[in-house]
Symmetry: C2
Subunit: 378 residues, 2 copies
């Protein structure tokens, strides 16, 4: 995807150079795998100020998040990654970082009818390379989002990963009916918070496991406000005694679905709360420990353990990405889903130095341990 899009961009840029006004685009790139802070660089290159090819679309980035999977991609430990090429004019074969982001259409080629300047678009696939100021691509690589003021830039820029994961895990694996229960760890993660809210709109009841912390009371209140039925600590989760409390809460109804992004003993203890015939979906491993489950859960409680990877679902379930985004837009517009909790780092799309551009993303990498970082282009 990236290879093709940037090949077009580069060739077009060369052809256009003498006839059309140019834009200086900046992109965060890597040419080898390793610690992102040591590995990423800012690369500037020229783009024409309007598309030459009829199907092209010229974009300016509005915002892009720094997701854990983006970081894993730069580290070289993520199975999905773009090819390293010289298409942007880098000395070493490189790729542009980032898989998720929101773009504004600056101009369209003569054969593009479905998009116009000012429209909001997101990449239709991963490996687009979103940590950049501008992009030149073709319209079939883009998905249009409404730009009518109901969806915020942050909501639109982060719609395809965290809330999409939550929505798909709650709707595509187990036939949950209103009143049914699910349990999740990482309850305060972005996916966890989205699952709480989406679960509530589906009429589901939820138990969210969170780490103990000084402001636990406030966090519990916040998540309850979002729609959590119950919020418990890892300590409560690990107590066999506490299982009785959970049974009282659920009035003996089996918990049908578990969502796991932690692994290790946190998961093992959570899995014990699942009812017969339950499904456990693993979408992360924040503890860096494996999925470890007592054999009896499999044999005698008929547990099914599966993985969830939103990137793969795009391929596996055709149309799932589009239908998920459609549903999420409704939830954002109705106010049932809150904007993702994030910090913003501002950067200029058209001005400033390469050093400033790079510094913004490096700051995001450092801060990403504290919470979701969103680079916003002014």
């Amino acid at each position: 995807m990236l290879a093709r899009a940037t090949a077009t961009a580069s060739a077009t840029a060369r052809r256009a150079m003498s006839t059309v006004t140019e834009i200086t685009a900046k992109a965060i790139v890597y040419s080898s795998y390793g610690d992102p802070l040591d590995t990423i660089a800012c690369h500037s290159y020229k783009l024409p100020s309007k598309p030459i090819n009829g199907k092209e679309v010229l974009l300016q980035t509005l915002a892009c998040p720094l997701n854990p999977s983006d970081i894993n991609q730069i580290q070289g430990v993520y199975p999905s990654r773009p090819s390293l090429t010289k298409e942007l004019g880098t000395i070493e074969p490189s790729a542009v970082c980032g898989n998720e982001g929101l773009f504004k259409v600056l101009a369209t080629g003569s054969e593009v009818s479905e998009l116009k300047a000012g429209d909001w678009v997101i990449p239709s696939n991963v490996n687009f390379g979103t940590w950049r100021s501008h992009a030149l691509t073709t319209s079939e690589n883009l998905t249009k989002l409404p730009n009518d003021g109901k969806l915020s830039i942050a909501e639109a820029a982060t719609i395809t990963v965290n809330p999409s994961s939550a929505y798909q895990m709650l709707t595509l694996y187990v036939d949950l009916k209103p009143g049914d229960w699910f349990i999740q760890n990482g309850g305060n993660s972005q996916v966890g918070r989205a699952a709480i809210q989406i679960g509530k709109t589906l009429g589901l009841k939820s138990i969210s496991v969170v780490r103990d912390r000084p402001d636990l009371k406030e966090l519990k209140e916040e998540l309850t406000q979002l729609g959590a039925t119950h919020v418990i600590t890892e300590e409560e989760n690990s107590s066999r005694e506490f299982g009785k409390t959970i049974k009282q809460w659920t009035e003996g109804k089996p918990i049908k679905l578990g969502l796991n992004c932690i692994g290790g003993s946190n998961l093992t203890n959570m899995a014990r709360k699942l009812g017969k015939d339950a499904t456990l979906l693993t979408y992360g491993a924040m503890s860096l420990k494996p999925v470890s489950l007592p054999t009896s859960l499999f044999i005698f409680k008929n547990l099914t353990a599966k993985g969830f990877w939103v990137t793969e679902n795009i391929k596996r379930i055709p149309g799932s990405r589009e239908s998920t985004i459609k549903e999420l837009i409704k939830l954002y517009e109705s106010g049932d889903l809150a904007e993702i909790k994030h910090d913003e780092i501002e950067v200029s799309a058209n001005e400033g130095t390469e050093e400033e551009f790079l510094a913004a993303f490096k700051k995001g990498l450092v801060e990403s341990k504290k919470g979701k970082q969103l680079v916003v282009f002014k």
Copy 2:
């Protein structure tokens, strides 16, 4: 099931006592849960020599295995177990041990048309209590097996657990086509040996992991004779380097199914050999360690981990038990499936003391660590 059958037996016995010749039946019973050697006892009781009630069937046991699940049942750690009752005339509420066995029909009530004296039958459900010399039940609790000399007593007496598990795991979960690969640990277990043979008849290729042992060469030859494509040791299974050899064997074809009865690191290493979108079925935990799987297998290789319990499949998939038995009989009759490897312990159905009867089963319990023990009634 047991409760009802023995209630009938006991009531009938009392009514019949003055008019019909009696049989002295012996049964291995337990009235509390614990170490089987300390817990089991022999209980003698009277049965009429022919059924009084029209739907009753009087049985003499031909053979019954001592399965691990029977032992777990007596230990009280098995979720499926019969009620403890006084129906057999025991002082303490008791249950008869054993879930699998072959019986010969001695006599039938006037309303039983589908069975006659001399027919072979097995219990249609678990918790029948098979460690006994005789039983009086009704015909709907029994499944008829052919008694035409093609099926041996040992084959018929053990058809519902080990080979049924192997057959169902290979046929009910993944749509395996001839030429497809599966991998299993416990390759020399009874289920493992059955899976090797059944897999071969289905055109499947298999890799079986076995423990290293002094007579490894002989075991490899034996399993290869049965139909194993490859037999590897736990050491080879645990070597990342050896993964390359396996890829050469499979010519890059993904291994679609894994069968696990061990758990722990043996399983973790085996699971790494599975291909994308594979299914892992766990039916035992001989290492007593959990099912521990790297998160990446779930997220990036789309692994599905499930449990297998033949007892539960009877309920979950109606007709699966009958159709499995039918297929297994064909395989036994064609010679494609060998008699289960076992030791025989002889005991008299009609003669001998309670002590001798009990001693036979205690011997079986002690010897069961070495291999499958089958108590055969002469």
